[in-house]
């Protein structure tokens, strides 16, 4: 997974075992809290089969991310998968969905503002620290 355009991009591969799904969940939450991203895109384009365990884990991940201040969008669900998910009663409520990756980015754009990218926030803080030391009341007078 990597950060792109202010969002944490998580492409899932097929052949995911339960353990790796849970590891992925933990990694997502760690990355969110480390990098302070506001948006997470989970890409299911490569996923052919999605059962209740993976579906519920994704939903939980979305809720957990939300508690950390990040919004999650799931993209790339295949039409056949969508039908089966609904038939199984596994609807993706409380989580945004989009068809393509680009649409996912568009969905998160209002939430993720480019000037507030994590690396820029750090630079601004340094600059403010420097100026606050330089300016005094005596200088102004």
């Amino acid at each position: 997974m990597h950060i792109s355009r202010g969002c944490l991009l998580v492409p899932l591969q097929d052949d995911l075992y339960d353990e790796s799904i849970l590891e992925m969940q933990a990694e997502i939450l760690e990355k969110i809290s480390q990098a302070g991203v506001k948006g997470v895109i989970i890409d299911l384009t490569s996923i052919d089969i999605l059962d209740s365990f993976l579906a519920n884990t994704l939903l939980d991940t979305g809720r957990m991310a939300s508690l950390l201040g990040a919004t999650t969008v799931v993209v790339g669900i295949k039409p056949e998968l969508a039908t089966v998910l609904v038939d199984l009663g596994l609807e993706f409520k409380d989580i945004l969905t989009a068809i393509t990756l680009e649409q996912g980015f568009q969905e998160l754009r209002p939430i993720v503002e480019p000037e507030e990218r994590p690396e820029e926030i750090e630079e601004t803080e340094e600059f403010e620290e420097e100026t606050s030391e330089d300016v005094t009341c005596e200088d102004e007078i």
Binding site: L16, Y17, S52, V84, D87
Partner: protein, 532 residues
């Protein structure tokens, strides 16, 4: 069952394994992508369900049930009997059949069946039925799966080819129809013009002119007959002629029609003989079309007979009636007999008197007879005469019902509608026969049939007495509608039995079934309605 794979769900990694294996088998069996995903997800969900219990195992196989072949997924685990599981209820809908059972050893067995192909795919059943040795000899069952997959591909390719041919056929018949209609209009105009001149509306004409115009008129009529015959034979060959069958007294039909030919026969000095059984012969036929058959054959017989007679006879056999038209005319040579029913063939007609034929009459006659599921043939000797014979099947009420249900189902599937069958039977019929006598019981059934017929609303609805029961077919009627009709019928019959003081003696049972909700074809609809 032919086992393809057996997977012991030892840990959670085998859940993914199970899903992948089912996916692969479903792909090899050429299921569509939706069903592949459904089956793989089912496998994953059900594997998770059994994984928590002892000795969980998934078995993938092929099984024959009745005439169909199914992909079978069987999930087994050792656990006590459980009550309902919402998972199972959700999963059930993905299979064509789903069962839960328990073995004596304490295993819960969940079996899901998925039909491999639509009913047109016969090869799987035939393959499994006839190739048993080959199947058992296969070292790996996956080879069998691959073979079935290949067979399915071949059948699909054949279907595409046939659809292409059908499309070509439709283009051809549309062309024939369009051209024929386009030719009719100018022909009508020409005929009108010629008639005006012949009737001297445009002025006087001399004898020579009149003779030429009469020849033109005759040929216009002939062209018109050819176009009409081409249209008729085209429709027959395309199967686009819908017979309007009803129960008709064939004796009366023939007697009424003969009279119009008697005049022509008298004019030629010929005798018309009629040999019909004394007993009424009632057949389930399209009266108009059968008259066309007689008209064609009689007209030919009269045309090609100079002296002697033309005879029409009916012979009643066990399952059919044989109709014959024989004459003492010029006959047909043995080389020409095999070609008699071919299109645009005419034999020894060049010098004959009267109007010329189109060469399509006998093809049309053959088409009509065959549409009635009959046979037609000719016996002839040059110089001695010709005998055309054709059969018409006798319809038992059971045959009538099956045909009517078939036609109804065909119409329902084309219109995307439903039809329903109600079977009204008298309980303990055999016992009642002792009490009421068979004759009286038969009369009661006829009475019931008549009352129910009167109560039908739509023209296409039909009620028929079939031996010991009355079957009612309701057009464009689903399950809700059939319940209402059934209740109405129950009231009608209840009132009837009260009036006849039969309420204590006769008890009625109503069975019903609906296409396509409960039955896939005519046999299943009849069977389910009778068993309901």
């Amino acid at each position: 069952m032919i086992e393809i794979e057996r997977i012991h769900i030892r840990d959670e990694t085998f859940i993914v394994e199970a899903s992948k294996k089912v996916q692969a088998v479903a792909r090899d069996l050429k299921f569509d992508s939706m069903n592949i995903v459904r089956l793989a997800v089912c496998a994953s969900e059900l594997s998770r369900y059994i994984y928590h219990y002892k000795e969980p195992v998934l078995i993938i196989g092929l099984e024959r049930k009745n005439q169909d072949v199914f992909l079978k997924l069987a999930f087994k685990c050792k656990k006590e009997k459980s009550k309902t599981s919402s998972l199972r209820f959700k999963i059930e809908k993905f299979f064509d059949d789903f069962r839960v059972s328990y073995t004596a050893e304490g295993f819960e067995v969940l079996e899901g069946y998925k039909y491999i192909e639509d009913p047109e795919f016969k090869m799987t059943q035939e393959f499994i039925h006839t190739e048993k040795e080959k199947i058992q000899g296969l070292s790996k069952s996956r080879e069998l799966v691959a073979l079935i997959g290949q067979a399915k591909e071949q059948v699909k390719a054949e279907k595409v080819r046939v659809m292409g041919l059908e499309k070509l056929d439709r283009i051809k018949s549309d062309f024939v129809l369009t051209v024929s209609h386009e030719l009719r209009t100018p022909l009508s105009i020409i005929k009108e013009g010629v008639s005006l001149v012949l009737d001297k509306v445009c002025g006087k004409i001399n004898q020579k002119q009149e003779k030429i115009l009469i020849t033109i008129n005759d040929n216009i009529d002939r062209l018109t007959r050819i176009i009409n015959d081409i249209l008729d034979i085209s429709k027959i060959e395309e199967g686009r002629v819908e017979l309007e069958k009803e129960f008709i007294n064939l004796n009366s039909l023939i007697k009424n029609y003969i009279s119009s030919f008697a005049i022509i026969a008298m004019g030629k000095g010929l005798e018309i003989k009629v040999d019909l059984p004394e007993r009424e012969v009632r057949l389930y036929i399209d009266g108009g079309k059968i008259i066309e058959v007689f008209a064609n054959l009689l007209s030919d017989a009269l045309k090609f007979t100079e002296r002697g007679y033309v005879e029409i006879s009916l012979q009643e056999k066990e399952n059919e009636v044989v109709c014959s038209i024989s004459d003492t005319g010029r006959g047909i040579s043995s080389e020409d007999i095999p070609k008699v029913f071919q299109k645009f063939r005419q034999f020894g007609r060049v010098d004959s008197s009267g109007e010329k034929g189109t060469g399509l009459g006998l093809s049309i006659v053959k088409g009509i007879v065959e549409m009635h599921k009959g046979k037609i043939w000719v016996e002839s000797e040059l110089g001695k005469g010709t005998k055309f014979s054709f059969t018409l099947p006798k319809y038992t009420p059971e045959m009538f019902l099956k045909e009517y249900v078939s036609t109804g189902i065909k119409r329902a599937s084309e219109n995307n509608s439903k039809i329903s069958l109600i079977v009204v039977s008298i309980l303990e019929f055999d016992k009642l026969k002792q009490e009421l006598t068979p004759v009286r019981l038969n009369l009661i059934l006829k009475d019931m049939e008549m009352r129910l017929k009167h109560a039908l609303h739509l023209e296409r609805d039909v009620a028929v007495k079939v031996t010991e029961e009355i079957d009612i077919l309701l057009d464009d009627c689903g399950k809700e509608g059939v319940l209402k009709v059934k209740n109405r019928f129950a009231k009608i019959l209840e009132d009837y039995f009260v009036r006849k003081n039969l309420s204590d003696k006769i008890k009625i049972h109503f069975g019903f079934s609906t296409y396509p909700d409960e039955a896939k074809d005519d046999e299943e609809l009849i069977k389910k309605a009778k068993e309901a």
